[in-house]
Every structure is written in structure tokens, then in C-alpha cells.
Symmetry: C2
Amino acid sequence: MKDIKKIIYEGYQYIDGGVCAAKGFRAGGVYCGIKKTMTPDGNESPLDGVKNDLTVVAADTLCNAAAVYTQNKVKGAPILVMQRHLKATGGKARALVANSKNANTCNADGETKAEAMCNLTAKALGVKPEEVMVMSTGVIGQILPIEPIEQALPNLCKNLKADAEGAHEAALAIMTTDTFPKEIAVEFTLGGKTCHLGGMAKGSGMIHPNMATTLNCITTDAAISVEMLQKALSDVVKVTYNCLSIDGDQSTNDTCLLMASGLAENAEITSESEDYEIFCRALYCVMMNLTRMLAYDGEGATKLLECTVSGADTLQDAIAVAKSVVCSPLLKCAMFGADANWGRVLCAIGYAPAEFDIHKVAVTLASRAGSVEVCKNGAGVAFSEEKAKKILLEDEIQILVTIGDGAVSATAWGCDLTYDYIKINGDYRS
Amino acid sequence: MKDIKKIIYEGYQYIDGGVCAAKGFRAGGVYCGIKKTMTPDGNESPLDGVKNDLTVVAADTLCNAAAVYTQNKVKGAPILVMQRHLKATGGKARALVANSKNANTCNADGETKAEAMCNLTAKALGVKPEEVMVMSTGVIGQILPIEPIEQALPNLCKNLKADAEGAHEAALAIMTTDTFPKEIAVEFTLGGKTCHLGGMAKGSGMIHPNMATTLNCITTDAAISVEMLQKALSDVVKVTYNCLSIDGDQSTNDTCLLMASGLAENAEITSESEDYEIFCRALYCVMMNLTRMLAYDGEGATKLLECTVSGADTLQDAIAVAKSVVCSPLLKCAMFGADANWGRVLCAIGYAPAEFDIHKVAVTLASRAGSVEVCKNGAGVAFSEEKAKKILLEDEIQILVTIGDGAVSATAWGCDLTYDYIKINGDYRS
């Protein structure tokens, strides 16, 4: 994994273990060969045999579960199946099965195949099919071969591990063009009981979320009701994954699943109590840091862009402006070139769907190498191009924008736009 | 100019002459050296001395005028000045002065400089300052040097030509990273009188219009009232420039000016008559073909993408879906790679803010080399990858989308996303 800074809060501690950090979860991933039979021109993908493509996360007990999905009208078949299953169980889940290299989307037999994945997993784990959740990521519109999945699942389910190794295997198996697996976990305390919350996510292109992003699985041993679990997930996703954009393309298969085993034995959270706030902050820690990793590992990216907008009157305005900045292709190119072309920041602020007075706008560029104010009261200020260049040559760039005298701030995450994005997406059917 | 197909309608004939095709207009452009003093690191731009950077279009008589502008909240100073002038004259104009290489935007002295450009032009032409319109394009946030403009204007205004050469010089002078000037003109008949309507536009990045795009000047000798002229421009811009996207970045300086001299001596158009329809169609011809040129010459582009959506219930839905398709970075990359990755078309259709039944969606890819249906009823159909590749290797690609049984259709235009877009926008402050 690339060396990306973790943002940490008091009272929370980062730990290893990803989706297996919480008590009561096992995970694993294998290479089963989904892509090999699918390449249209008969060639093997360069990734074949290298990266895992099938993952299972299983809970020892029936968990409370919550999920958010893409708002794309073209929804992957796995989403439709998973929504039915969660409805049938009243928000309970025992396991997740997920594959990469094929999105199982826009196929006439998509739902049948997604159901088959759940049935096979349920059989191997000895649980009910509707207790199994399902996700797919990869190429849209190619028939998913079920045979390699069928063959691999029994052994995969038998060999799941309740440790960091199992979690890591699982995180590897949902990767598409990601260059490193995204995992993180935190430890915190609820009413004297030690709790854990950890997750994994896959990136890396077609990322411009709306209610959820990419494939995500988060687990916790905290006890929390289905209702509060869904509320926490829906709230935190708004200020994390939904403030991330790699390329403006909103995926058809985005799903984030959150399972709570309750094995930490805290008093179950059933209302918006202080414990709920502590839980939400843990969830924010995990989802915000996964968001940063997703941005940092965007397709072809060399830099993380983090735009924090302050002085807004509403959260909606702050988010709109921050997202507009990190989505601007021209700014993304300038950041790739380490060019302090702040006019492009102003341009992007200007077309954001938000209310503010352009004469109160100020912009500062910052990184580990320092910071430089480039714009004040909506107009340029003199600054050292040399210093700005040094700041922008770093790989984690902060764009700090003030839009007024309001009290609200928000952050959005993105990455630079590079030759490699074109290469990855122009050269073969990724 | 690259060889791009012109779309022609019966009753209209393409002619030479650009902004000078209509009676009563003269134009010209020169290199005055705006950029030379402005490069921040002291180096001369590679374009210095090569491309014209100052243009004037003048009318022999006071014209009825209409304009549309960017909706970006960060508006170039020239826009604010031009809006004041058009208001002061009640929609009349005598001339346009425009420069490239500097947007005169986000500068504390921006409006003063824009007014100075108008005053100098007015003096040289012997007209009133408020009868002069002004546009600037180029880098945002750098002080505009007025001296080279002041020195060049008297001679430029003295040597304006009422022919294709003058129009061409003017079109060259508003170019930024454009690789060819965009000009077009048509001849048509109103009540037995021969009329002309022609225009010029500059591209080529920061193009994602909202009410107008880029710098545009269109002239006509048809007689039409200020009110109907504005209505025609506002209506036609919706289905031409506003359906164009190069990169999703909406410029701060977009302006489209339309001037009517009335010298064709037709009965003045004052209502939504049959003559008005004929005039609008001429305007559509010119603006649609300029839109195609702008898309074809998008920064770094190798291909024009033209997405036509039919079967919609409303124009809004048809436009939303068509724009979503041509804006998708992933599809733009796939088109660069001539990869028939139709799943990305479906994905982009799916996140368009429009109402439709995904099970009624069909997609066909077409070009001079033929056509191939790749998706029907929302799912993939078998097709020849070889044939699709051949189609997509052409440089004008049609993406034909059906979204239902409705009667409405619309077209949006864009281009592929290539290494050169990154190079142009990452390598220097363009």
C-alpha cells in the first residue's frame, strides 16, 4: 500500500484486521478465473491469475445490516438481489459474496446469476440464501460465468480466516484497476466495552458517487439496531464517499454493506444517544480514510486532491463547491503538472450549484511542503511561483477555499488527471 | 481546417465569408503581443507571434443585437461591461473587440481594462463606446496589458475588410488552443430577399456550456427586431452550444453575440412568423455546424462524438441523456481507443437526470464505416467486435440511443479524451 497519511481522532485507535478486526467475522479471497473465459477477443487479461477475483466475508452470528447503493438507474443485478434479500430478512445478514472482473450488469440472466452466487455461498456456509449479500464489479454487459465461482466457493468458505490475513485476501479479491487494497479498522469504547469497526473498499475508476460508492464492506462488533445502523451509514456516506470523485462517472454497481455482530456486548444502540455519536465517529474515521485511499489510488492518479471549503452558510453549499473543485478536469490536469493555475479553481467554484459572494472567495494551496495563498477577495494575490511549485510537487494536495463568513465547512476528495487514466481506459476494456 | 462534414438543409446554402458574409460587416485580426509580457516565468509562449490575438468586427450601421453569456458565477470582466453596454443602448451594437491569450477575469482592474478596450475601439471607429461589445479569452487571473491593444487598434480598425479574408483574420485572432479557426455562413431567402448569416467561434477546452459557449460572434443582414433576435438566439443556443461538452469545465467568459444589420431589406421580423422560423433554421445551421467544429477540435481530441437520443417524452430528457453520454470520461477514453465498450454508454445513460425505462434502451454505434447495434432492451446483443472496431476507428462517431416510445429527440456533441488533453492542460498554463 502506498504511504498515505491517516487522519486520527482522539479516543480512536487504528488497528490491523480490516473486515476481520471486529469480533465474529471471517473472510477470504481466491482467484477462481472469472475473466479468463470472458475476454471478447480471446486473449487473456494481463491480470488473469494475478489478482484474486472472488471474496467471501462471513459472520459467525446473524448480524444487523445496513446498505446504501448507487442511484444510477442502470443498476447491477447484484444490487437488485441484495435489496430483495435485505428486505426479506428485515435487515439481517450472515455473509457477503463478491466478485471482480465482471459487473454482472445489463445481462438478461444477471439476477439468476446473482441469486446463484448467494445460493452457492449459503450452501457452503450452511446459512439461508437470503442471508447472503452479493456484489459484483468489472466490465458491464458481459455474461458472468458461474462455473468458476461454483467450483471455488466450497473451499473458499471452508478456509475463511478470522484474522488480518483473511481480511487482506478479501480486500485483494474485490480490486479492479486498484494498485493497492484499501483496508482500515479502528478500536473504540462504548460504555466500557471495547468495540471494533473495520472495512474494505475497491476503487479506482467510474467513481462519482451518489449515495454510495464502489464496493464496500464494513463490519463491527458493536451492538446497534438495524434502524440506527442504517441511519449512521446513510449520514456518514454523505460526507465521505459521496464527496469523492475520481472521474465523474457514477458506477452501476456501487454498494456499501455494513454488518454489526453485536459481539462487543455493549448496550445496544437504539437511539441518537452519546454512544451513537461515538459509533458514528468511528464509522466516519473508517469511511473517510477509505475515501482518501480511493482518491489517492484513482485510475492513473499521482496525487490525492483534498478540497476543504469553509465559511459556507449550509453543508450543501460547502459540499457543492468542494466537489466542483475536485471534479474539474482542467484543475486535475494542472495539479498533475504541479501548475498553480488557481484561475481554474475559481472557475470551478463559479459553476458550483451553491450560493456565495464571489468577492469573499479566498484560495490557499497546501501540502507537506507548506502553504501559499493564491487568491483573496475573488482576485489574484502575488505569490511565489517557485514555492507554489514545490508545494504542488507533493502527492497529497490540500486546496483550502473560503467562500464567506458562514460557520459550515466540508471536504471533498479527488485526484489528478493523468496520461495513465487515458491509457488504462483507452487501451483495453477495463 | 480539418475535413469535417457539414450538415445542410434544403433551402439553405453554405457560403464563404464567416462574419463578413452578411452585408454591412467588416472584420480583421492582428497579432499585438498580449501574451509576451504576461508569461509568469519570463518565457515566451510558443504561440507568441504565430497566432493573432486581437480582433475587431464592425458594422456599417447600428445593428440590433442579442447575446447570451456563461452562467458561471465567476464572470469575466468583459461580460459585465458588455451587459452594461447592451442595456445602455437598448440592444444595439456597432462593433465587437475581442482578444485571446488573457481572459481578463478575476483581476481587480478587469472592468476598467474592458472599458478601455471599448473606448479605444470606439475612438478608432468613430462610434460611441457603449455601442462596442467586448470579449476576452485566455488565462484567468493575470493582469491584461492594455498597451499592445492600444497600439494595435487604430491600424486594425482602419484596415478592416468586408470579405472572407477579413473574417478569417478575425476568426484566427480569437483562437486559444484551437487547431483551426471555426467559421461558417449560410445564404437563405426571406420574402424574396436574399439574406446571409455567418459566424465564428473559438474552442477548445473549458467547454461545458450553460446558456452560451466560448467566444462567438454571429452576424446577419436579415432585418429582425431586438426582441425576436434575442429569442432566436436563446432558443437555438439550447439545442446547439448548450449540448456541447469538451471537458465539463464551464468557462468564465463564454459569450455569444449576434448582430443584425437589416441591410438585406426584408420586412423586419417582429413576431413568431414563418419568416422567423426560416431565420431560426439558418441560425441553427450556423450554430450547429460551429458546435460540431468545436467538438471536433476539442483539446487533444481525435474524434467528434455525436450522440442522438430519440424516443424521449421531453426535450429535457433527450438532452440530459445525450449530454450525459458525451460527457462520460470513461466512454470518451473508450472512443479514443476505438473500443466498443457499450456498458459505459449504458452507465452514462443511467446517471443522466432523466426519466425513462431502462428496459427500453437501445444503442447503436455508427460512422462513415457503417453501424452496429450493441444493446437492445437494456441488455447486450451479440455483435462483431471487428466491425465495431472499424466503425470506431473513424473520426466522426455517432452514438444513437433510443430510450423509449416518445416522439422527442435531441443531439449532444463531444469528443474523445486523449493523452494530448492531459499534455495541453498539464504541461503549461494554457
